[in-house]
Amino acid sequence: MKKSICVIDDDMIYQMIIKKIIERTAQFETIKFYNDGIYALEDFKDLDVVLPELILLDINMPQMDGWQFLESLIEHRPTFKNETIIYIVTSSIANSDREKANSFDEISGFLSKPVSVDCLEKIIKEHR
């Protein structure tokens, strides 16, 4: 069964790279990109929109960062935890970010960039 994946990140180069990596796993049928949390939220807060199986979320974004996005989404769609799997993917190696990620039940994991094909495949396996 083919799945859908969504990447929320303002780094255009990263977007290109992750697209290649996702394609290599050959596990996803659709890939959706958002440049900022605010754009992703605009779509996802609509309860008619079906959430992708996996979301890779960046923390540092100009308008709405990863945390703000998560908080807003919880507000608009309290049960979204059952509809999708969210991973934080960030270039930050700050411990504070990792700890904050752990405090969210909705977050399944914290990945430091760069993300490899193996890493992604491992995640897919975990949630099969």
């Binding site: 180069i13 290109m16 290599r24």
Partner: protein, 784 residues
């Protein structure tokens, strides 16, 4: 006493029995009074009797006049009888006679006892022909007249013709032969009127008029009144012409008696009063005697008391011969104090046991006492005990002679005050010590009133602040306090007001010293307004300027270090994040590159890699800029006029401003000059205004207002716009962060505000923002 008793028995009897004396006096006076009263009563009685006799004399005289008149008329009538016994010219003479003697009412001629002629005729004609010698009622009296041979009055009786009257009948003889009667009738009323009885009776007397009835031989009374002959009788006269009896009596015989009753009461009163006075008078010696006895007793008792007090007193007491200073008497306590026995002290002079230092003063006081200049004195002096030890005593001296008489002896009271003197000396030492502490300490102590006026300042103020006490007392203390610390001081004073006598401490304020320098004073204020010895606030001020300045510098350094640290942390985060994003991208690309064999794809990755390189370069440039701001510590800082720089930036942005039709309002004073780096100031002003233009609200005309003013002594520049605004709730913490943007406006990179803030902070200032989405933003730059 008992020997003399007999000879003084009467006197002492009365002296000891004042009531008896009083009664005796009363009875004596009462009897005397009544005796005098009785005498005067008798005198009144006698004078009344005399008066009555006089009255009766008058009555008698008047009646006799009437009777004489009757006799004259009757005689005259007899003359009109001629020798033949005929009555001639009766009608002619009768009226003449009646006219002459008005007392006579009727005249009659009665020849042979038969009434033949009467005048006035008309009223009396009924009697004509009446034979008086035949009628038994009249016969007896008529015969009596013949018998006595002269005029005799019959009646009073009721007349035939009416009325009561007396009839005087004169027997007329012709040729020695009884002819008949010539009669006159006097009405009883006329008779009494003639006697002036009514006039004489007045209010005082009553009369009675009686005759022995010739037929019944009973006394017949003719006047209607209640005169009781038996009781009231006083005076009588007898008139033989008619055998009449006149009585006079007092109408109110008891009047004189009644008149004396008030007098009797008065006598009773006087006698009683005098009796009482005598009682009191006789009592006086007894009372005086009792007083003398009781006072003698008291004197003895007080003598005893004095002895007891003298001997048993807890203070030393001595009686001293004033002139010589010799002890006459000493009490137990004094002997204890001095250590000498009674016999040793006997004849000793007070000088022998006095400390030489006070002897002269003591002698001078004794002299004043002897001169009468003072009536007492007290002195604190030293007493030399027998053992040679010195004892501090308080001496109180009172003379035992009366004022203005020459001095003899005096009483001295000696109290042991050694403990008090020692305590006092200790207290004085302490006082000196505290004074030294206050005056020489490193602390200024002032007492000031509610208005902030110093009442007292410790001399340390001269040393510490340079003011003399007079100078500090002449100014209001608040004028010496730093304006920024006045509020703090007021707060503490308010606290002190709330808690009287509680020291309010632990605050530090700046005060101006005489040189005009601000010095930090660690202060304690105690509200002792209610304390009567202070009546003010006590302020303790310690100059802690060095400490405080060190503290401030330390604090500043700490703040600076913290700020540096914060910025470094922020920077390291930025560095790690922004550089790592590129490095991770490179890593990922290389990874992809290595794991592909497709040549075309490999070329693709190389292209991607060069893009990462560009981005990295950009990032490094940004970081470099930030680093240069944060680390460039020796930038050229000048005094710059804000208006000049605003003009410059407006010129730079002229195109954009006129393009968008923006309105720029400016209210910045020319004297607004700040210390800043010129390049930074230009960059800051440009950035805020570029932002204002970039993030304008498309729907309305852009308005930028720039306001410059001073707050708490520092310049503030306010740049307000009516642009899109920023959701501060969402972005507040990151608004000045690197790579943070808040709108979907293209070209916004999130670098400008970050740089601006860093530039302002590098110049020691700060920046704040107020904003509302859809309304606009206000940025405030606080210059140092």
């Amino acid at each position: 006493m008992s020997r003399n008793k007999g000879s003084f028995s009467f006197k002492s009897n009365f002296l000891s029995r004042p009531i008896l004396a009083g009664v005796f006096s009363f009875v004596f006076l009462f009897l005397l009074g009544f005796f005098l009263l009785f005498q005067s009563y008798q005198i009144i009685r006698e004078s009344e009797a005399r008066e009555m006799i006089n009255v009766m004399d008058l009555v008698e005289k008047n009646l006799n006049n009437s009777l004489k008149d009757s006799y004259s008329v009757a005689l005259s009538m007899g003359l009109i009888i001629d020798d033949e016994g005929n009555i001639r010219d009766f009608e002619q003479y009768a009226p003449l006679l009646l006219e002459q003697y008005p007392v006579i009412d009727v005249v009659q001629m009665v020849p042979g006892g038969v009434i033949r002629k009467v005048y006035p005729y008309q009223a009396n004609k009924a009697v004509i022909g009446y034979d008086i010698l035949k009628d038994p009622k009249t016969r007896k009296e008529a015969l009596k007249a013949i018998d006595v041979g002269k005029m005799y009055f019959a009646g009073p009786f009721d007349l035939l013709q009416g009325g009561t009257a007396v009839v005087g009948r004169l027997p007329v003889f012709k040729n020695n032969k009884f002819w008949g009667f010539s009669a006159v009738i006097i009405k009883l009323e006329s008779l009494l009127e003639q006697a002036e009885l009514n006039k004489l009776a007045g209010e005082k007397y009553i009369f009675q008029f009686s005759k022995i009835n010739p037929e019944s031989n009973e006394e017949q009374f003719f006047l209607q009144n209640d005169l009781d002959i038996e009781y009231n009788i006083s005076e009588t006269i007898l008139l033989p012409d008619g055998d009449w009896k006149f009585y006079i009596a007092l109408k109110n015989p008891k009047e004189a008696f009644y008149e004396l009753i008030p007098m009797a009461f008065f006598i009773l009163l006087i006698a009683s009063w005098l009796g009482w006075v005598v009682t009191l008078l006789f009592k006086q010696p007894i009372r005086l005697q009792a007083l003398v006895n009781s006072q003698a007793g008291e004197l003895a008792a007080s003598e005893l008391k004095f002895r007891t007090i003298f001997n048993q007193a807890a203070v030393g007491m001595v009686r001293v011969e004033t002139a010589t200073g010799k002890f006459l008497e000493t009490n137990q306590r004094f002997r204890e104090l001095s250590g000498y026995s009674a016999s040793e002290l006997n004849g000793m002079n007070f000088r022998e046991i006095s400390h030489p230092s006070e002897i002269n003063e003591n002698l001078a006081l004794i002299q004043q006492l002897l001169n009468g200049d003072i009536r007492e004195y007290s002195l604190e002096k030293r007493l030399i005990q027998k053992s040679g030890n010195v004892l501090w005593v308080k001496l109180s001296v009172s003379p035992l002679w009366k004022k203005d008489t020459s001095g003899s002896t005096h009483i001295a009271i000696i109290e042991d005050i050694s403990e008090r003197v020692v305590a006092q000396n200790e207290l004085m030492k302490n006082e000196k010590r505290y004074r030294a502490l206050v005056e020489n300490g490193g602390e200024v102590v002032t007492i000031f009133n509610r208005k902030g006026q110093a009442i007292y300042s410790s001399p340390a103020i001269q040393k510490i602040a340079g003011y003399s006490e007079a100078e500090i007392n002449s100014v209001n203390l608040s004028s010496l306090i730093h304006p920024k610390d006045i509020a703090e001081l007021d707060k503490q004073i308010l606290e002190a007001m709330k808690f009287p006598s509680k020291p309010i401490s632990g605050f530090t304020i700046r005060a101006k010293n005489k040189k005009g320098e601000w010095r930090w004073a660690e202060s304690t204020i105690t509200n002792l307004l209610e304390d009567s010895s202070v009546k003010g606030f006590v302020g303790n001020f310690r100059d802690v300027s060095e400490k405080k300045e060190a503290e401030i510098n330390l604090n500043k350094s700490y703040q600076m270090v913290m700020e540096q640290n914060r910025r470094l942390l922020n920077f390291s985060y930025i560095v790690s994040h922004n550089l790592r994003s590129h490095s991770s991208n490179i890593q990922a690309i290389l990874n992809l590159y290595n794991t592909t064999s497709v040549e075309e794809e490999k070329l693709n990755y190389i292209g991607l890699l060069s893009k990462v390189g560009n981005a990295l370069n950009h990032t490094l440039e940004d970081l470099n800029e930030v680093v240069s701001i944060s680390t460039n510590l020796d930038l050229n800082i000048e005094s710059l006029q804000i208006n000049a720089f605003l003009n410059k930036t407006i010129d730079l942005l002229e195109m954009q401003i006129s393009d968008k039709g923006a309105i720029i309002k400016r209210d910045v004073p020319d004297e607004m000059i700040v210390k800043f780096n010129a390049a930074y100031l230009e960059s800051v002003l440009l950035n805020f205004r570029t932002n204002a233009i970039r993030y304008r609200e498309q729907k309305r005309k852009l308005e930028i207002s720039i306001l410059g003013y001073k707050e708490n002594g520092d310049w503030i520049l306010e740049i307000a716009d009516n642009g899109v605004g920023i959701d501060l709730e969402r972005h507040g913490g990151k608004i000045f962060g690197l790579y943070k943007t808040f709108t979907q406006t293209p070209n916004s990179r999130g670098v400008g505000l970050f740089i601006t803030r860093n530039q302002i902070e590098a110049m020691g200032g700060s920046v704040a923002v107020e904003s509302e989405v859809g309304v606009g933003s206000v940025f405030k730059i606080y210059f140092k």
